[in-house]
């Protein structure tokens, strides 16, 4: 065992700290913009503790100070304490459900005195990350082993369930980002492919479900989903199974069959091409099963499973959309897919947010000069919709700058993760990168109107002390782990 001594200041990654500080400062100014109104007020008032900006500044100070303290513990301490921390926060989150006051239907806040309250769920991400990194760095761990895979899943699905129990569905979804980590550590790509294809089927199927080909009585969405199933399954054969002559036959039949029938139906005689696509899919299933039987190619079985699963999923989508979802949930999805304009209801927030951003133009209206956000058109403008203020006041230039700094931050974390010498550090780093990336993608996508409205904060920007502190704890603990990367445990 070897221990490097030396000043910690020389070993921490200052690039990340610089990116962190610039995100935090940009965020604070954005909150100033969002909470400022027409009153001629003194700029110093922004720092008064009675204002949200003042509170945020205080929390930023607390977070930075906490970060510095966290840098003083070495990697071994993090690893040794990981499960205790995990159990502590899981229990705290469970207790919160019962003692928290109901705030807009959510039971996640513990109040400390009259003006401050904490959301323990924000620290659960830190605890989960630690536990997962620790678990996955055990000797002999492999995601190919069933027990290890299930163990890892349980570690982050449990807090997810607890947070759903707090009625914070948005925050719970963040835990899905750990799948990215599992993927990097060797979980089969099938899971990722399944997730992506499910989303694609859903969007394409619903969005174009009611659109019909001009000359045919065939739903474009239905047809497109079938073609996508063919495409995905062929890609699976190409990349995962033995690619030989018999596979080639499969390709030729599908490509010629699909294109040929499409051409005939559009230009010669119109007939129901959906039936052809179903026949082709059925042919694929039988053909692949034959390959399993005759050529002993077991991998093909997975493709068959995928095809059958895809068909079942598409069939259930339609059912869920019309029979399971409630009116307002259906409207939300329809608005998102551009099927409905609903300015008074579900579409209001997003519509207002798009106007605010759109009005920013190239350079924006300038700091504190935004009118849309100032007139309180955008709800939640200093929390979940904070990116609006940046779009309006700093324009395209400012928004792109923020996005780029964020991307640099996430990529830098991935780079740091990759340079770790053990799995503990790498899993830790990737978890961070994945969490930040998930928050960024969902939040900015929601404000831009291309993601569903899921209430999760934009790290370092959205108003909220617990979340700022939670993200800072995640980051600084990892910076220390990174600084100790040459220490072998």
């Amino acid at each position: 065992m070897e221990r490097e001594r030396g000043n910690i200041l020389h070993k921490i990654d200052w690039v990340t700290i610089a990116l962190y500080l610039s995100l935090g400062i940009m965020g604070w100014f954005a909150i100033c913009g969002a909470s400022y109104s027409y009153i001629e007020s003194d700029f110093l008032e922004f720092l008064s503790l009675g204002e949200r900006t003042g509170k945020q500044a205080m929390w930023m100070g607390v977070s930075f100070f906490t970060g510095i303290i966290l840098l003083c513990f070495d990697k071994r301490i993090y690893k040794d304490w990981s499960f205790i921390i995990y159990i502590f926060f899981t229990l705290l989150c469970i207790v919160t459900i019962f003692i928290a006051r109901d705030i807009k239907g959510s039971r996640s806040w513990i109040s400390l005195g009259s003006s401050f309250s904490l959301q323990p769920a924000e620290f659960m991400k830190f605890a989960t990350t630690l536990a997962l990194a620790s678990f996955m760095s055990r000797h002999g761990f492999s995601l190919q082993k069933k027990g290890d895979l299930i163990g890892s899943l349980v570690l982050f699905m449990l807090p997810m369930l607890v947070i759903v129990g707090q009625r914070e569905t948005g925050s719970a979804l963040v835990y899905l980002s750990f799948f990215i980590v599992l993927y990097r550590e060797g979980m089969t790509g099938l899971v990722l492919l399944t997730a992506v294809s499910a989303i694609v089927y859903f969007i394409v199927g619903i969005r174009f479900g009611e659109v019909h080909f001009e000359s045919l009585d065939v739903s474009v969405g239905h047809y497109a989903v079938l073609v996508l199933i063919q495409l995905f399954s062929l890609a699976m054969v190409k990349f995962w199974c033995k690619y030989d002559k018999s596979a080639l036959v499969l390709f030729v039949v599908n490509v010629v069959g699909t294109l040929g029938c499409y051409w005939i139906a559009i230009y010669l005689i119109s007939f129901n091409i959906i039936i052809v696509q179903y026949l082709l899919v059925a042919f694929n299933v039988i053909y692949l099963l034959l390959r399993v039987r005759l050529e002993k190619e077991k991998d093909n079985l997975w493709v068959v499973l995928f095809i059958v699963g895809s068909l079942a999923f598409y069939a259930s989508c339609d059912y869920v959309m019309h029979n399971v979802l409630k009116e307002h949930q259906r409207t939300r999805i329809e608005v998102l897919l551009g099927l409905k304009e609903d300015l008074a209801g579900a579409g209001y927030n997003v519509h207002q947010s798009k106007i605010a951003i759109g009005s920013g133009g190239v350079t924006g209206k300038g700091f504190l000069n935004g009118t849309q956000t100032k007139l309180k058109y955008v709800p939640e403008q200093d929390t979940d919709f904070i990116f609006c203020t940046i779009g309006e006041e700093q324009g395209f230039a400012g928004s792109v700058a923020v996005i780029l700094v964020f991307a640099a931050f996430v990529l830098r974390l991935m780079y740091l993760a990759e340079r770790q010498n053990d799995r503990f550090g790498r899993v830790y780093g990737y978890s961070l990168a994945a969490i930040f990336f998930f928050h960024f993608t969902i939040n900015v996508g929601m404000v831009l109107g291309i993601m569903p409205v899921i209430g999760i904060p934009l790290p370092f920007f959205s108003y909220g002390g617990s979340s700022f502190l939670g993200f800072s704890i995640l980051l600084f603990s990892f910076l220390r782990v990174d600084a100790d990367r040459n220490v072998r445990l």
Partner: protein, 615 residues
């Protein structure tokens, strides 16, 4: 495959992940470019205009009485609000004089608001509420001088008559809990909090409309978006017609003034409540406008609880009015016929046990027993029922008895359309076994046969007993609202519920009650030209006896059944009988004879002293 090889194989995945990050960034930048640079539509919308979603409130449904007279309507009122951050230097004195308050009031109010839960310097705070148009006018003229202060126009309730306040109930600002659970409401909305306003809230409130308005960057309204294509009109609340006859209600409240008690009158064939008086009552018009706060405070502090609806919330021993239900049970169970005679030697004697009665002939059959309200007759009835050998011991007899009572609407809430109804108390065998073990019999529980002891009923349940007798064995759940505009009443307010006793038993009881008026304790209830049936009640309690009466008329085609209960009023004949008679006469003849008017005046002026204690 070796571990190292695997490690290497998976390391390539970093490129997939990095690629996804770059892809998302690229998509978002393209989207931003689209929104901010290419798309002019959004810019135009925001540069000059922006949406403002304005809620248009529907008119709350009105209430009419059974003869179509308007009872409850809407009246505009004004709330004065302010946003603390927007208040600039304001001449406080001028503000106070415009609102007619003192400087001291102003400071106190401000301090109170600042301390309240949910205070924020960014959001609208209520300063004064429910000002009338006259009170508000001087302030409105000077509104421009008080930046940060706003006016919210609202609609409050006004009343045409000074009666039935406790039935109408009240409206008030919706609670945070309700807002969280029902998306219809937003902060500051009014919601029915008491009485019919609460139980018919969803019918009365209507549906809100919205206007999509365009505003410029300074918040000035520029008009409706796309000429109102996105607006929705509010749907007014539905009007209610009550079964109440407001003149009857007023008469009832007058008769009970300076007394504590209730009057409930029901139309037997429909279950509609014709009047429901709870005394002390109050004038609902006191709770309108600026003096509302003060008056409300006074009413809620009053030791006699005028805001409580005793007719449904009060539970009392029903006394001798309850004997009718006993007769029904004994007749139906075959314990007695109307010809069965029992002895009464100035009371009921059983071994050493004695329960007194008053002087009348003995032995006597059922009709005179009801007419003279003989205690012994019904005690013997219960004893015979318990010892008839038809049941396995006292327990089973007790539970059969209880089932009869429950079928008549006792022991559980009847289900009237007004909140707060009490259950009353009907004991069962478990109740007594808990107290006496297995050593109890009919004599132990004997007082239930004469409506004393453990038995308690609400005045509404007593009235319903009378309505059931008038119907000869069925009742419609009593209800205040007789029809909802453009809607039907729930089934329970339309269907007749049978009791366990048959029509023949009821006919016998009706004959007894008729004899009580012609020849018994209720002679005072007789109305010339109308066949009235009645039964008095004198309920013992810790203080002076409560005076009770039930009656219905005409005997063969009952139009009204009434129950009167006056706390500490003495004999049933003292208050119950004359009040019940006046109510029936007023309703059936639409007016009172000169003699009755005199009697009404006399009762109205009588005062019962209750002392200083809480009631």
């Amino acid at each position: 495959m070796s571990n190292a090889y695997n490690e290497f194989k998976y390391e390539k995945r970093k490129y997939v992940l990095g690629g996804i990050v770059l892809l998302v960034v690229a998509v978002y930048i393209v989207r931003l470019f689209n929104l901010q640079i290419l798309n002019e539509e959004y810019k135009d919308k925001a540069d000059s205009n922006a949406f403002y979603k304005k809620t248009v409130y529907p008119a709350r449904g009105l209430m009419y009485d059974r003869k179509g007279r308007l009872l409850v309507y809407n009246q505009p009122a004004y709330d004065i609000t302010f946003i603390p951050r927007e208040i600039k230097k304001t001449d406080t004195l001028e503000l106070c004089s415009a609102l007619g308050i003192t400087r001291d009031d102003f400071e106190k109010r401000m301090a109170l608001i600042r301390k309240s839960r949910g205070y924020s310097s960014y959001t609208e705070q209520s300063f004064m509420t429910r000002l009338s148009a006259e009170e508000f006018a001087p302030f409105n003229e000077k509104l421009y001088r008080f930046p940060g202060f706003y006016v919210r126009k609202r609609s409050i309730r006004q009343y045409t008559h000074g009666a039935a306040g406790v039935l109408f109930g009240d409206i008030g600002e919706v609670s945070q809990k309700k807002i969280d659970s029902d998306p219809y409401y937003t902060r500051g909305d009014y919601i029915g909090t008491q009485g019919l306003e609460a139980s018919y809230e969803e019918v009365l409130r209507g549906e809100k409309g919205t206007e999509m308005l365009l505003r410029d960057a300074y918040g000035r309204i520029q008009g409706n978006y796309r000429d109102g294509a996105y607006d929705t009109l509010p749907v007014p609340g539905k009007n209610l017609t009550l079964g109440i006859d407001i003149e009857l209600q007023e008469l009832g409240e007058r008769l009970l003034q300076n007394k504590i008690g209730s009057i409930v009158a029901i139309e037997p064939s429909t279950g509609e409540i014709l009047c429901m008086v709870s005394s002390p009552s109050y004038d609902p018009r006191l709770l309108v406008g600026r003096q509302r706060g003060e008056n409300h405070e006074q009413l809620s502090q009053d030791k006699r609880k005028p805001l409580m609806n005793r007719a449904v919330m009060g539970t009392y021993p029903p006394g001798s009015t309850f004997k009718t239900s006993q007769a029904l049970t004994f007749l139906q169970e075959g314990v007695i016929t109307h010809e069965t005679n029992f002895h009464c030697s100035k009371g009921f004697r059983y071994n050493k046990f004695k329960l007194g009665c008053h002087a009348h002939g003995s032995p006597l059959p059922l009709y005179p027993a009801i007419a003279t309200s003989c205690n012994a007759y019904f005690c013997w009835g219960l004893v015979r029922m318990f010892s008839s050998g038809k049941y396995k011991g006292a327990q089973e007899a007790m539970d059969v008895w209880r089932d009869y009572m429950v079928s008549m609407g006792f022991g559980y809430k009847l289900g009237i359309d007004i909140p707060g109804e009490a259950r009353g108390m009907i004991p069962n065998s478990k109740y007594y076994s808990r107290h006496y073990g297995n050593y109890w019999n009919a004599v132990t529980v004997i007082s239930i046969a004469i409506g004393q002891g453990e038995v308690t009923l609400t005045p509404l349940q007593i009235a319903n007993l009378c309505a059931t007798i008038a119907n000869r064995g069925t009742f419609v759940t009593p209800h205040l609202v007789s029809s909802i505009e453009g809607d039907t009443l729930p089934g329970i307010y339309r269907e007749h519920r049978p009791t366990k006793a048959g029509r023949a038993a009821y006919e016998d009881v009706v004959k007894g009650m008729r004899q009580a008026v012609t020849d018994g304790t209720c002679r005072g209830a007789a109305i010339p030209g109308i066949e009235v049936c009645g039964k008095t009640g004198t309920a013992e309690n810790k203080g002076k006896d409560h005076s009770a009466f039930i009656g219905f008329a005409p005997m063969d085609d009952p139009k009204i059944s009434v129950a009167v209960y006056v706390e500490n009023g003495g004999f049933g004949a003292t208050y119950g009988v004359p009040i019940g008679k006046l109510i029936m006469e007023k309703y059936l003849n639409d007016t009172l004879s000169d003699e009755s008017l005199k009697k009404a005046k006399e009762i109205q002026d009588r005062i019962i002293y209750y002392g200083e204690g809480e009631r």
